[in-house]
Symmetry: C2
Subunit: 314 residues, 2 copies
Protein backbone atom coordinates (compact mmCIF):
# COMPACT_ATOMS: atom_id res chain seq x y z
CA UNK A 1 0.00 0.00 0.00
CA UNK A 2 2.36 2.68 -1.25
CA UNK A 3 -0.23 4.96 -2.87
CA UNK A 4 -3.48 5.81 -1.12
CA UNK A 5 -5.97 8.57 -0.46
CA UNK A 6 -7.55 9.41 2.90
CA UNK A 7 -10.79 11.35 2.80
CA UNK A 8 -10.98 13.84 5.69
CA UNK A 9 -14.26 15.48 4.70
CA UNK A 10 -17.02 14.82 2.18
CA UNK A 11 -19.62 17.52 2.80
CA UNK A 12 -20.21 20.58 0.65
CA UNK A 13 -20.58 24.16 1.89
CA UNK A 14 -21.85 23.40 5.41
CA UNK A 15 -21.13 20.59 7.84
CA UNK A 16 -23.32 17.51 7.90
CA UNK A 17 -23.40 15.78 11.28
CA UNK A 18 -21.48 12.83 9.80
CA UNK A 19 -19.39 14.69 7.26
CA UNK A 20 -16.64 17.30 7.50
CA UNK A 21 -15.62 19.76 4.80
CA UNK A 22 -13.48 18.92 1.79
CA UNK A 23 -9.96 17.71 2.45
CA UNK A 24 -8.04 14.74 1.02
CA UNK A 25 -4.62 13.40 1.96
CA UNK A 26 -2.68 11.88 -0.93
CA UNK A 27 0.03 9.52 0.33
CA UNK A 28 2.66 8.22 -2.09
CA UNK A 29 5.68 6.23 -0.99
CA UNK A 30 6.03 8.09 2.32
CA UNK A 31 5.24 11.56 0.95
CA UNK A 32 1.98 13.13 2.09
CA UNK A 33 0.15 15.91 0.28
CA UNK A 34 -2.98 17.72 1.42
CA UNK A 35 -5.63 18.71 -1.09
CA UNK A 36 -8.04 21.38 0.18
CA UNK A 37 -8.42 22.19 3.84
CA UNK A 38 -11.95 23.10 4.99
CA UNK A 39 -12.60 24.20 8.57
CA UNK A 40 -11.97 21.37 11.01
CA UNK A 41 -9.45 19.56 8.80
CA UNK A 42 -6.91 19.37 11.63
CA UNK A 43 -9.59 17.91 13.91
CA UNK A 44 -10.27 15.22 11.31
CA UNK A 45 -6.54 14.57 10.93
CA UNK A 46 -6.24 14.00 14.65
CA UNK A 47 -9.35 11.82 14.63
CA UNK A 48 -8.17 9.64 11.78
CA UNK A 49 -4.49 9.44 12.72
CA UNK A 50 -3.17 11.40 9.75
CA UNK A 51 0.57 12.13 10.06
CA UNK A 52 -0.05 15.87 10.53
CA UNK A 53 3.57 16.99 10.49
CA UNK A 54 4.50 14.95 7.45
CA UNK A 55 2.43 17.01 5.03
CA UNK A 56 4.95 18.77 2.78
CA UNK A 57 2.73 20.41 0.17
CA UNK A 58 -0.85 21.70 0.30
CA UNK A 59 -2.98 22.24 -2.80
CA UNK A 60 -6.03 24.50 -2.49
CA UNK A 61 -8.46 24.12 -5.38
CA UNK A 62 -10.26 27.45 -4.88
CA UNK A 63 -10.98 30.11 -2.30
CA UNK A 64 -14.47 29.12 -1.20
CA UNK A 65 -14.45 28.80 2.56
CA UNK A 66 -15.42 25.13 2.71
CA UNK A 67 -12.15 24.37 0.90
CA UNK A 68 -9.64 26.50 2.84
CA UNK A 69 -10.93 27.96 6.13
CA UNK A 70 -9.10 25.24 8.05
CA UNK A 71 -5.72 26.17 6.60
CA UNK A 72 -4.77 29.03 8.95
CA UNK A 73 -5.52 26.82 11.96
CA UNK A 74 -3.35 24.02 10.59
CA UNK A 75 -0.49 26.43 9.85
CA UNK A 76 -0.78 27.80 13.41
CA UNK A 77 -0.74 24.32 14.90
CA UNK A 78 2.44 23.53 12.97
CA UNK A 79 3.96 26.66 14.49
CA UNK A 80 2.83 25.74 18.01
CA UNK A 81 4.38 22.30 17.49
CA UNK A 82 7.66 24.02 16.45
CA UNK A 83 7.67 22.64 12.92
CA UNK A 84 10.94 23.23 11.11
CA UNK A 85 10.30 21.55 7.75
CA UNK A 86 9.38 23.84 4.86
CA UNK A 87 5.75 23.88 3.70
CA UNK A 88 4.58 24.71 0.20
CA UNK A 89 1.10 25.96 -0.62
CA UNK A 90 -0.35 26.06 -4.12
CA UNK A 91 -3.42 28.27 -4.45
CA UNK A 92 -5.11 31.16 -6.17
CA UNK A 93 -4.52 34.66 -4.90
CA UNK A 94 -5.12 36.28 -2.43
CA UNK A 95 -4.54 33.37 -0.05
CA UNK A 96 -1.06 34.55 0.84
CA UNK A 97 -2.47 37.96 1.81
CA UNK A 98 -5.25 36.37 3.91
CA UNK A 99 -2.82 34.13 5.77
CA UNK A 100 -0.29 36.95 6.18
CA UNK A 101 -2.87 39.29 7.68
CA UNK A 102 -3.97 36.69 10.23
CA UNK A 103 -0.41 35.85 11.26
CA UNK A 104 0.32 39.56 11.63
CA UNK A 105 -2.76 40.08 13.82
CA UNK A 106 -1.41 37.52 16.29
CA UNK A 107 2.21 38.77 15.93
CA UNK A 108 3.21 35.29 14.76
CA UNK A 109 6.48 34.61 12.98
CA UNK A 110 6.20 31.02 11.86
CA UNK A 111 8.76 28.53 13.09
CA UNK A 112 9.12 27.08 9.57
CA UNK A 113 9.56 28.39 6.02
CA UNK A 114 6.25 28.82 4.20
CA UNK A 115 6.25 29.16 0.42
CA UNK A 116 3.25 30.22 -1.63
CA UNK A 117 2.91 29.21 -5.28
CA UNK A 118 0.18 31.17 -7.03
CA UNK A 119 -2.19 29.43 -9.39
CA UNK A 120 -3.32 31.59 -12.27
CA UNK A 121 -6.90 31.50 -13.52
CA UNK A 122 -7.15 28.83 -16.23
CA UNK A 123 -3.67 27.47 -15.47
CA UNK A 124 -2.76 23.94 -16.47
CA UNK A 125 0.45 21.94 -16.36
CA UNK A 126 3.02 20.56 -13.96
CA UNK A 127 3.16 22.04 -10.46
CA UNK A 128 5.72 19.73 -8.91
CA UNK A 129 7.56 16.55 -9.71
CA UNK A 130 9.92 14.09 -8.13
CA UNK A 131 11.75 11.12 -9.58
CA UNK A 132 8.61 9.01 -9.48
CA UNK A 133 5.62 11.36 -9.12
CA UNK A 134 4.28 14.31 -11.07
CA UNK A 135 1.56 16.65 -9.82
CA UNK A 136 -0.36 18.53 -12.48
CA UNK A 137 -3.19 21.04 -12.35
CA UNK A 138 -6.05 21.83 -14.70
CA UNK A 139 -8.89 24.39 -14.70
CA UNK A 140 -12.49 23.62 -13.70
CA UNK A 141 -15.74 25.55 -14.13
CA UNK A 142 -16.91 27.32 -10.99
CA UNK A 143 -18.02 30.74 -9.74
CA UNK A 144 -14.45 31.64 -8.72
CA UNK A 145 -11.15 30.47 -10.30
CA UNK A 146 -10.91 26.77 -9.48
CA UNK A 147 -8.38 24.07 -10.30
CA UNK A 148 -8.23 20.31 -10.16
CA UNK A 149 -5.08 18.30 -9.46
CA UNK A 150 -3.75 14.99 -10.66
CA UNK A 151 -1.03 12.91 -8.98
CA UNK A 152 0.64 10.69 -11.58
CA UNK A 153 3.32 8.07 -11.21
CA UNK A 154 6.25 8.49 -13.55
CA UNK A 155 9.33 6.46 -14.45
CA UNK A 156 7.60 3.31 -13.32
CA UNK A 157 10.19 0.54 -13.25
CA UNK A 158 10.24 -3.00 -14.59
CA UNK A 159 9.58 -5.74 -12.05
CA UNK A 160 12.27 -8.24 -11.04
CA UNK A 161 11.23 -11.87 -11.33
CA UNK A 162 12.34 -13.12 -7.94
CA UNK A 163 12.43 -16.80 -8.87
CA UNK A 164 14.91 -16.08 -11.64
CA UNK A 165 17.28 -13.74 -9.81
CA UNK A 166 17.41 -15.22 -6.33
CA UNK A 167 20.04 -17.81 -7.29
CA UNK A 168 22.13 -15.35 -9.32
CA UNK A 169 23.75 -13.60 -6.34
CA UNK A 170 23.73 -10.25 -8.20
CA UNK A 171 25.46 -7.16 -6.80
CA UNK A 172 23.16 -4.50 -5.36
CA UNK A 173 23.63 -2.07 -8.24
CA UNK A 174 22.37 -4.66 -10.74
CA UNK A 175 18.81 -4.41 -9.45
CA UNK A 176 18.40 -0.70 -10.22
CA UNK A 177 19.94 -1.16 -13.67
CA UNK A 178 17.71 -4.08 -14.55
CA UNK A 179 14.56 -2.40 -13.17
CA UNK A 180 15.32 0.67 -15.25
CA UNK A 181 15.31 -1.52 -18.37
CA UNK A 182 19.04 -1.94 -18.93
CA UNK A 183 21.02 -5.12 -19.30
CA UNK A 184 23.78 -5.67 -16.71
CA UNK A 185 27.34 -6.95 -17.15
CA UNK A 186 28.84 -8.92 -14.29
CA UNK A 187 32.50 -8.54 -13.37
CA UNK A 188 33.33 -11.76 -15.26
CA UNK A 189 31.94 -10.17 -18.43
CA UNK A 190 28.80 -12.26 -18.58
CA UNK A 191 25.56 -10.51 -19.48
CA UNK A 192 22.31 -10.49 -17.52
CA UNK A 193 19.59 -9.62 -20.01
CA UNK A 194 16.93 -7.34 -18.63
CA UNK A 195 14.07 -8.97 -20.52
CA UNK A 196 15.01 -12.38 -19.14
CA UNK A 197 14.83 -11.46 -15.46
CA UNK A 198 12.21 -8.68 -15.40
CA UNK A 199 8.61 -8.17 -16.42
CA UNK A 200 7.29 -5.04 -18.04
CA UNK A 201 6.36 -2.26 -15.56
CA UNK A 202 2.98 -1.99 -13.97
CA UNK A 203 0.85 0.70 -15.54
CA UNK A 204 1.50 4.07 -13.91
CA UNK A 205 -1.15 4.81 -11.32
CA UNK A 206 -2.79 8.21 -10.94
CA UNK A 207 -5.23 10.01 -8.67
CA UNK A 208 -7.30 12.84 -10.12
CA UNK A 209 -9.03 15.35 -7.85
CA UNK A 210 -11.85 17.21 -9.60
CA UNK A 211 -13.00 19.77 -7.08
CA UNK A 212 -16.10 21.97 -7.36
CA UNK A 213 -17.09 22.14 -11.00
CA UNK A 214 -19.99 22.32 -13.36
CA UNK A 215 -20.05 19.66 -16.06
CA UNK A 216 -17.19 20.04 -18.49
CA UNK A 217 -15.17 17.64 -20.61
CA UNK A 218 -12.40 20.16 -21.14
CA UNK A 219 -10.14 18.60 -18.53
CA UNK A 220 -10.50 15.00 -19.76
CA UNK A 221 -6.99 14.92 -21.30
CA UNK A 222 -5.52 15.56 -17.84
CA UNK A 223 -7.45 12.83 -16.02
CA UNK A 224 -7.57 10.19 -18.76
CA UNK A 225 -7.03 6.65 -17.46
CA UNK A 226 -6.89 7.70 -13.81
CA UNK A 227 -6.65 4.77 -11.45
CA UNK A 228 -8.99 6.62 -9.11
CA UNK A 229 -10.88 9.70 -10.17
CA UNK A 230 -12.56 11.84 -7.51
CA UNK A 231 -15.30 14.06 -8.86
CA UNK A 232 -17.68 16.23 -6.90
CA UNK A 233 -21.32 15.12 -6.97
CA UNK A 234 -23.10 17.76 -4.93
CA UNK A 235 -26.63 16.90 -6.06
CA UNK A 236 -28.87 14.30 -7.58
CA UNK A 237 -30.04 15.22 -11.07
CA UNK A 238 -32.70 17.90 -10.72
CA UNK A 239 -31.98 18.63 -7.07
CA UNK A 240 -29.85 21.76 -7.47
CA UNK A 241 -31.80 24.52 -5.70
CA UNK A 242 -31.28 27.03 -8.50
CA UNK A 243 -29.84 27.47 -11.99
CA UNK A 244 -26.72 29.17 -10.69
CA UNK A 245 -25.73 26.14 -8.64
CA UNK A 246 -26.56 23.79 -11.52
CA UNK A 247 -23.96 25.63 -13.53
CA UNK A 248 -21.21 25.48 -10.93
CA UNK A 249 -21.69 22.03 -9.41
CA UNK A 250 -22.09 18.53 -10.80
CA UNK A 251 -24.66 15.82 -10.29
CA UNK A 252 -23.83 12.21 -9.47
CA UNK A 253 -24.70 11.31 -13.05
CA UNK A 254 -22.37 13.96 -14.47
CA UNK A 255 -19.51 12.79 -12.24
CA UNK A 256 -20.05 9.25 -13.51
CA UNK A 257 -20.16 10.42 -17.10
CA UNK A 258 -16.76 12.07 -16.66
CA UNK A 259 -15.36 8.89 -15.07
CA UNK A 260 -16.65 6.86 -17.99
CA UNK A 261 -15.29 9.21 -20.65
CA UNK A 262 -11.97 9.41 -18.80
CA UNK A 263 -11.75 5.62 -18.74
CA UNK A 264 -11.10 5.76 -15.00
CA UNK A 265 -10.49 2.60 -13.00
CA UNK A 266 -12.64 3.75 -10.10
CA UNK A 267 -14.76 6.80 -9.28
CA UNK A 268 -15.09 8.39 -5.86
CA UNK A 269 -17.96 10.83 -5.54
CA UNK A 270 -18.10 13.43 -2.77
CA UNK A 271 -18.85 17.05 -1.79
CA UNK A 272 -22.37 15.95 -1.00
CA UNK A 273 -25.00 18.55 -0.21
CA UNK A 274 -25.80 18.51 3.52
CA UNK A 275 -29.43 17.85 2.54
CA UNK A 276 -28.58 14.18 1.93
CA UNK A 277 -28.53 12.02 5.03
CA UNK A 278 -28.34 8.81 2.99
CA UNK A 279 -25.86 8.57 0.14
CA UNK A 280 -27.45 5.57 -1.58
CA UNK A 281 -29.54 7.60 -4.07
CA UNK A 282 -26.41 9.47 -5.21
CA UNK A 283 -24.51 6.21 -5.52
CA UNK A 284 -27.29 4.57 -7.48
CA UNK A 285 -27.49 7.48 -9.89
CA UNK A 286 -23.74 7.39 -10.49
CA UNK A 287 -23.56 3.59 -10.78
CA UNK A 288 -26.21 3.60 -13.48
CA UNK A 289 -23.57 5.27 -15.66
CA UNK A 290 -20.29 4.06 -14.11
CA UNK A 291 -20.54 0.90 -12.05
CA UNK A 292 -17.25 1.12 -10.12
CA UNK A 293 -18.33 4.13 -8.10
CA UNK A 294 -17.75 4.44 -4.37
CA UNK A 295 -18.74 7.25 -1.99
CA UNK A 296 -16.24 9.47 -0.20
CA UNK A 297 -16.53 8.52 3.49
CA UNK A 298 -14.77 10.58 6.14
CA UNK A 299 -11.78 8.70 7.52
CA UNK A 300 -11.78 6.01 4.82
CA UNK A 301 -8.66 5.07 2.86
CA UNK A 302 -8.75 4.33 -0.85
CA UNK A 303 -5.78 2.35 -2.13
CA UNK A 304 -4.48 2.70 -5.68
CA UNK A 305 -3.49 -0.87 -6.50
CA UNK A 306 -1.77 -1.96 -9.67
CA UNK A 307 -4.71 -4.26 -10.31
CA UNK A 308 -7.09 -1.29 -10.16
CA UNK A 309 -5.20 0.52 -12.90
CA UNK A 310 -7.15 0.75 -16.09
CA UNK A 311 -6.00 -2.25 -18.12
CA UNK A 312 -6.55 -0.59 -21.45
CA UNK A 313 -3.61 1.73 -21.09
CA UNK A 314 -0.80 0.67 -23.35
CA UNK B 1 -33.24 28.60 33.76
CA UNK B 2 -33.20 32.04 32.16
CA UNK B 3 -29.45 32.71 32.43
CA UNK B 4 -26.92 30.05 31.50
CA UNK B 5 -23.58 29.45 29.82
CA UNK B 6 -22.77 26.67 27.36
CA UNK B 7 -19.11 25.78 26.97
CA UNK B 8 -18.31 24.86 23.36
CA UNK B 9 -14.56 24.42 23.78
CA UNK B 10 -12.13 24.26 26.69
CA UNK B 11 -8.73 23.59 25.11
CA UNK B 12 -5.96 26.12 24.65
CA UNK B 13 -3.96 26.74 21.49
CA UNK B 14 -4.35 23.28 19.93
CA UNK B 15 -7.15 20.73 19.98
CA UNK B 16 -7.21 18.02 22.58
CA UNK B 17 -9.03 14.86 21.48
CA UNK B 18 -11.80 15.61 23.98
CA UNK B 19 -11.73 19.39 23.92
CA UNK B 20 -12.43 22.01 21.26
CA UNK B 21 -11.09 25.56 21.17
CA UNK B 22 -12.44 28.43 23.24
CA UNK B 23 -16.04 29.45 22.67
CA UNK B 24 -18.84 30.12 25.17
CA UNK B 25 -22.51 30.82 24.54
CA UNK B 26 -24.12 33.18 27.04
CA UNK B 27 -27.91 32.79 27.07
CA UNK B 28 -30.04 35.34 28.91
CA UNK B 29 -33.84 35.39 28.70
CA UNK B 30 -33.93 34.22 25.08
CA UNK B 31 -30.97 36.28 23.89
CA UNK B 32 -27.84 34.37 22.89
CA UNK B 33 -24.35 35.83 22.74
CA UNK B 34 -21.19 34.13 21.55
CA UNK B 35 -17.89 34.77 23.29
CA UNK B 36 -14.86 33.76 21.23
CA UNK B 37 -15.06 31.44 18.27
CA UNK B 38 -12.12 29.06 17.80
CA UNK B 39 -11.91 26.79 14.76
CA UNK B 40 -14.67 24.19 14.84
CA UNK B 41 -17.08 26.30 16.93
CA UNK B 42 -19.91 25.74 14.44
CA UNK B 43 -19.27 21.99 14.59
CA UNK B 44 -19.58 22.10 18.38
CA UNK B 45 -22.76 24.19 18.09
CA UNK B 46 -24.30 21.57 15.85
CA UNK B 47 -23.11 18.79 18.15
CA UNK B 48 -24.52 20.38 21.29
CA UNK B 49 -27.76 21.76 19.81
CA UNK B 50 -26.86 25.45 20.17
CA UNK B 51 -29.43 27.71 18.46
CA UNK B 52 -26.95 28.77 15.79
CA UNK B 53 -29.10 31.38 14.10
CA UNK B 54 -30.19 33.03 17.32
CA UNK B 55 -26.75 34.43 18.12
CA UNK B 56 -27.11 38.21 17.81
CA UNK B 57 -23.75 39.47 19.07
CA UNK B 58 -20.29 37.95 19.04
CA UNK B 59 -17.50 39.08 21.36
CA UNK B 60 -13.92 38.17 20.43
CA UNK B 61 -11.46 38.57 23.31
CA UNK B 62 -8.32 38.74 21.17
CA UNK B 63 -6.91 37.81 17.79
CA UNK B 64 -5.07 34.62 18.60
CA UNK B 65 -6.28 31.93 16.25
CA UNK B 66 -7.65 29.58 18.89
CA UNK B 67 -10.14 32.31 19.79
CA UNK B 68 -11.39 33.43 16.36
CA UNK B 69 -10.44 31.14 13.44
CA UNK B 70 -13.92 29.62 13.50
CA UNK B 71 -15.62 32.98 12.96
CA UNK B 72 -15.34 33.24 9.16
CA UNK B 73 -16.84 29.75 8.80
CA UNK B 74 -19.75 30.63 11.06
CA UNK B 75 -20.41 33.87 9.16
CA UNK B 76 -20.34 31.92 5.88
CA UNK B 77 -22.75 29.33 7.21
CA UNK B 78 -25.17 32.11 8.24
CA UNK B 79 -24.97 33.37 4.67
CA UNK B 80 -25.55 29.94 3.17
CA UNK B 81 -28.58 29.57 5.46
CA UNK B 82 -29.88 32.93 4.15
CA UNK B 83 -29.71 34.68 7.50
CA UNK B 84 -31.45 38.07 7.48
CA UNK B 85 -31.02 39.17 11.11
CA UNK B 86 -28.22 41.67 11.77
CA UNK B 87 -25.08 40.42 13.48
CA UNK B 88 -22.76 42.50 15.64
CA UNK B 89 -19.12 41.66 16.27
CA UNK B 90 -16.99 43.24 18.98
CA UNK B 91 -13.28 42.73 18.52
CA UNK B 92 -9.87 44.27 18.17
CA UNK B 93 -8.66 45.37 14.77
CA UNK B 94 -7.92 44.11 12.13
CA UNK B 95 -10.68 41.48 12.33
CA UNK B 96 -12.94 43.42 9.99
CA UNK B 97 -10.15 43.54 7.40
CA UNK B 98 -9.45 39.80 7.76
CA UNK B 99 -13.12 38.88 7.35
CA UNK B 100 -13.58 41.35 4.51
CA UNK B 101 -10.65 39.95 2.55
CA UNK B 102 -11.94 36.39 2.86
CA UNK B 103 -15.46 37.32 1.79
CA UNK B 104 -14.02 39.22 -1.17
CA UNK B 105 -11.90 36.21 -2.22
CA UNK B 106 -15.08 34.13 -2.54
CA UNK B 107 -17.08 37.01 -4.09
CA UNK B 108 -19.53 36.77 -1.19
CA UNK B 109 -21.98 39.54 -0.35
CA UNK B 110 -23.50 38.46 2.92
CA UNK B 111 -27.26 37.94 3.10
CA UNK B 112 -27.43 39.84 6.41
CA UNK B 113 -26.08 43.11 7.85
CA UNK B 114 -22.79 42.66 9.67
CA UNK B 115 -21.58 45.37 12.03
CA UNK B 116 -18.11 45.54 13.51
CA UNK B 117 -17.43 47.36 16.78
CA UNK B 118 -13.72 47.89 17.37
CA UNK B 119 -12.24 47.32 20.80
CA UNK B 120 -9.36 49.62 21.59
CA UNK B 121 -6.30 48.39 23.44
CA UNK B 122 -6.90 48.83 27.17
CA UNK B 123 -10.57 49.67 26.66
CA UNK B 124 -13.03 49.25 29.52
CA UNK B 125 -16.70 50.09 29.96
CA UNK B 126 -20.12 49.29 28.56
CA UNK B 127 -20.32 47.68 25.12
CA UNK B 128 -24.04 47.02 24.96
CA UNK B 129 -27.06 47.15 27.18
CA UNK B 130 -30.72 46.29 27.16
CA UNK B 131 -33.46 46.95 29.68
CA UNK B 132 -32.23 44.12 31.88
CA UNK B 133 -28.67 43.25 30.81
CA UNK B 134 -25.43 45.15 30.49
CA UNK B 135 -22.33 43.85 28.76
CA UNK B 136 -19.05 45.41 29.82
CA UNK B 137 -15.47 44.87 28.78
CA UNK B 138 -12.16 45.20 30.60
CA UNK B 139 -8.50 44.76 29.62
CA UNK B 140 -6.40 41.67 30.39
CA UNK B 141 -2.66 41.00 30.25
CA UNK B 142 -1.59 39.02 27.18
CA UNK B 143 0.89 39.13 24.30
CA UNK B 144 -1.64 40.89 22.04
CA UNK B 145 -4.45 43.30 23.05
CA UNK B 146 -6.96 41.17 24.95
CA UNK B 147 -10.24 41.92 26.67
CA UNK B 148 -12.55 40.16 29.08
CA UNK B 149 -16.31 40.57 29.15
CA UNK B 150 -18.92 40.60 31.88
CA UNK B 151 -22.66 40.07 31.42
CA UNK B 152 -24.53 41.75 34.28
CA UNK B 153 -28.21 41.82 35.08
CA UNK B 154 -29.58 45.29 35.64
CA UNK B 155 -32.89 46.75 36.81
CA UNK B 156 -33.66 43.54 38.63
CA UNK B 157 -37.26 43.74 39.78
CA UNK B 158 -38.96 43.08 43.09
CA UNK B 159 -40.72 39.74 43.44
CA UNK B 160 -44.52 39.50 43.74
CA UNK B 161 -45.75 37.45 46.71
CA UNK B 162 -48.25 35.22 44.96
CA UNK B 163 -50.18 34.29 48.06
CA UNK B 164 -50.92 37.92 48.76
CA UNK B 165 -51.90 39.08 45.30
CA UNK B 166 -53.79 36.12 43.90
CA UNK B 167 -57.07 37.14 45.60
CA UNK B 168 -56.70 40.83 44.73
CA UNK B 169 -57.73 40.53 41.09
CA UNK B 170 -55.31 43.28 40.05
CA UNK B 171 -55.20 44.72 36.51
CA UNK B 172 -52.27 43.59 34.35
CA UNK B 173 -50.44 46.89 34.52
CA UNK B 174 -50.31 46.73 38.30
CA UNK B 175 -47.78 43.92 38.24
CA UNK B 176 -45.11 45.86 36.36
CA UNK B 177 -45.60 48.89 38.58
CA UNK B 178 -45.34 46.89 41.77
CA UNK B 179 -42.35 44.88 40.54
CA UNK B 180 -40.58 48.12 39.65
CA UNK B 181 -40.98 49.25 43.25
CA UNK B 182 -43.93 51.62 42.91
CA UNK B 183 -47.23 51.59 44.79
CA UNK B 184 -50.36 51.18 42.68
CA UNK B 185 -53.71 52.97 42.83
CA UNK B 186 -56.78 51.00 41.86
CA UNK B 187 -59.64 52.69 39.98
CA UNK B 188 -61.58 53.03 43.21
CA UNK B 189 -58.73 55.09 44.63
CA UNK B 190 -57.51 52.44 47.05
CA UNK B 191 -53.74 51.96 47.35
CA UNK B 192 -51.79 48.73 46.93
CA UNK B 193 -48.51 49.26 48.74
CA UNK B 194 -45.51 47.77 46.97
CA UNK B 195 -43.75 46.69 50.14
CA UNK B 196 -46.83 44.76 51.29
CA UNK B 197 -47.16 42.54 48.23
CA UNK B 198 -43.54 42.23 47.00
CA UNK B 199 -40.20 41.08 48.33
CA UNK B 200 -36.91 42.82 47.63
CA UNK B 201 -35.28 41.83 44.31
CA UNK B 202 -32.93 38.92 43.92
CA UNK B 203 -29.33 39.99 43.73
CA UNK B 204 -28.34 40.79 40.12
CA UNK B 205 -26.56 37.84 38.56
CA UNK B 206 -23.46 38.22 36.41
CA UNK B 207 -21.14 36.10 34.28
CA UNK B 208 -17.54 37.21 33.91
CA UNK B 209 -15.36 35.85 31.09
CA UNK B 210 -11.66 36.28 31.77
CA UNK B 211 -9.96 35.10 28.60
CA UNK B 212 -6.24 34.55 28.13
CA UNK B 213 -4.39 36.51 30.75
CA UNK B 214 -1.41 36.56 33.01
CA UNK B 215 -2.14 37.11 36.67
CA UNK B 216 -3.50 40.56 37.34
CA UNK B 217 -5.87 42.04 39.89
CA UNK B 218 -6.46 45.16 37.83
CA UNK B 219 -9.80 43.96 36.49
CA UNK B 220 -11.23 42.92 39.87
CA UNK B 221 -13.59 45.93 40.06
CA UNK B 222 -15.30 44.71 36.86
CA UNK B 223 -15.84 41.12 37.98
CA UNK B 224 -16.52 41.68 41.70
CA UNK B 225 -19.32 39.50 43.08
CA UNK B 226 -19.79 37.58 39.81
CA UNK B 227 -22.29 34.76 40.13
CA UNK B 228 -20.04 32.69 37.88
CA UNK B 229 -16.52 33.75 37.00
CA UNK B 230 -14.72 31.98 34.16
CA UNK B 231 -10.96 32.36 34.31
CA UNK B 232 -8.40 30.67 32.12
CA UNK B 233 -6.16 28.13 33.88
CA UNK B 234 -3.83 26.95 31.16
CA UNK B 235 -1.27 25.30 33.44
CA UNK B 236 -0.60 23.85 36.84
CA UNK B 237 1.78 25.96 38.92
CA UNK B 238 5.27 25.42 37.58
CA UNK B 239 4.14 23.72 34.37
CA UNK B 240 4.39 26.67 31.97
CA UNK B 241 7.01 25.61 29.40
CA UNK B 242 8.77 28.98 29.47
CA UNK B 243 8.83 32.38 31.18
CA UNK B 244 7.02 34.06 28.33
CA UNK B 245 3.97 31.82 28.69
CA UNK B 246 4.03 32.21 32.48
CA UNK B 247 3.60 35.92 31.95
CA UNK B 248 0.68 35.67 29.53
CA UNK B 249 -1.32 32.77 30.96
CA UNK B 250 -2.62 31.87 34.38
CA UNK B 251 -2.30 28.78 36.55
CA UNK B 252 -5.22 27.04 38.22
CA UNK B 253 -4.10 28.55 41.52
CA UNK B 254 -4.02 32.05 40.07
CA UNK B 255 -7.50 31.65 38.59
CA UNK B 256 -8.76 30.56 42.00
CA UNK B 257 -7.04 33.48 43.71
CA UNK B 258 -8.86 35.88 41.39
CA UNK B 259 -12.19 34.14 42.09
CA UNK B 260 -11.57 34.45 45.80
CA UNK B 261 -10.56 38.11 45.67
CA UNK B 262 -13.53 38.84 43.40
CA UNK B 263 -15.89 37.17 45.87
CA UNK B 264 -17.32 35.08 43.05
CA UNK B 265 -20.12 32.61 43.66
CA UNK B 266 -18.56 29.95 41.46
CA UNK B 267 -15.39 29.59 39.40
CA UNK B 268 -15.15 27.81 36.05
CA UNK B 269 -11.60 27.09 34.93
CA UNK B 270 -10.78 26.33 31.30
CA UNK B 271 -8.38 26.93 28.37
CA UNK B 272 -6.47 23.87 29.51
CA UNK B 273 -3.16 23.03 27.88
CA UNK B 274 -3.55 20.03 25.57
CA UNK B 275 -0.85 18.30 27.65
CA UNK B 276 -3.43 17.52 30.34
CA UNK B 277 -5.53 14.45 29.69
CA UNK B 278 -6.97 14.46 33.20
CA UNK B 279 -8.27 17.70 34.67
CA UNK B 280 -8.30 16.57 38.30
CA UNK B 281 -4.84 18.00 39.16
CA UNK B 282 -5.90 21.42 37.85
CA UNK B 283 -9.16 21.21 39.79
CA UNK B 284 -7.39 20.17 42.98
CA UNK B 285 -4.95 23.03 42.70
CA UNK B 286 -7.77 25.55 42.18
CA UNK B 287 -10.00 24.10 44.91
CA UNK B 288 -7.20 24.39 47.45
CA UNK B 289 -7.73 28.16 47.12
CA UNK B 290 -11.37 28.44 46.02
CA UNK B 291 -13.54 25.43 46.82
CA UNK B 292 -16.48 26.12 44.49
CA UNK B 293 -14.45 25.50 41.34
CA UNK B 294 -15.74 23.47 38.40
CA UNK B 295 -14.00 22.58 35.12
CA UNK B 296 -15.17 23.83 31.73
CA UNK B 297 -16.45 20.72 29.94
CA UNK B 298 -17.35 20.88 26.24
CA UNK B 299 -21.12 20.78 25.80
CA UNK B 300 -21.95 21.37 29.47
CA UNK B 301 -24.37 24.05 30.64
CA UNK B 302 -23.72 26.17 33.72
CA UNK B 303 -26.83 27.82 35.15
CA UNK B 304 -26.68 31.14 37.00
CA UNK B 305 -29.27 30.63 39.74
CA UNK B 306 -30.37 33.28 42.19
CA UNK B 307 -29.23 30.99 44.96
CA UNK B 308 -25.74 30.85 43.49
CA UNK B 309 -25.43 34.64 43.61
CA UNK B 310 -22.96 35.77 46.17
CA UNK B 311 -25.03 36.37 49.29
CA UNK B 312 -22.76 39.01 50.68
CA UNK B 313 -23.83 41.61 48.13
CA UNK B 314 -26.11 44.17 49.73
Amino acid sequence: MDFFITILGSSSATFHKNRGLTSHVVSYKGDHFLVDCGEGTQIQMQRFGTPLQKISRIFISHLHGDHFYGLIGLLSTYHLFHRKAPLHIYSHRPLQEIIGLQLKASSTELSYPLYFHDLEEGQSGVLYETEDLRIETFPLIHSVPTNGFVFKERNVQRRLVKDKIKSMNLPYEAYDELKSGKDFYLDDGSLIRCDEVTLKPFLPRSYAFCSDTGYTEDFLPFVKDSTILYHEATFLTGDAPNKRLEKYHATAKEAATIASKANAGQLIIGHFSARYNMLSPLLEEARSVFSNTTPAIDGKRYVLTHESSSETVS
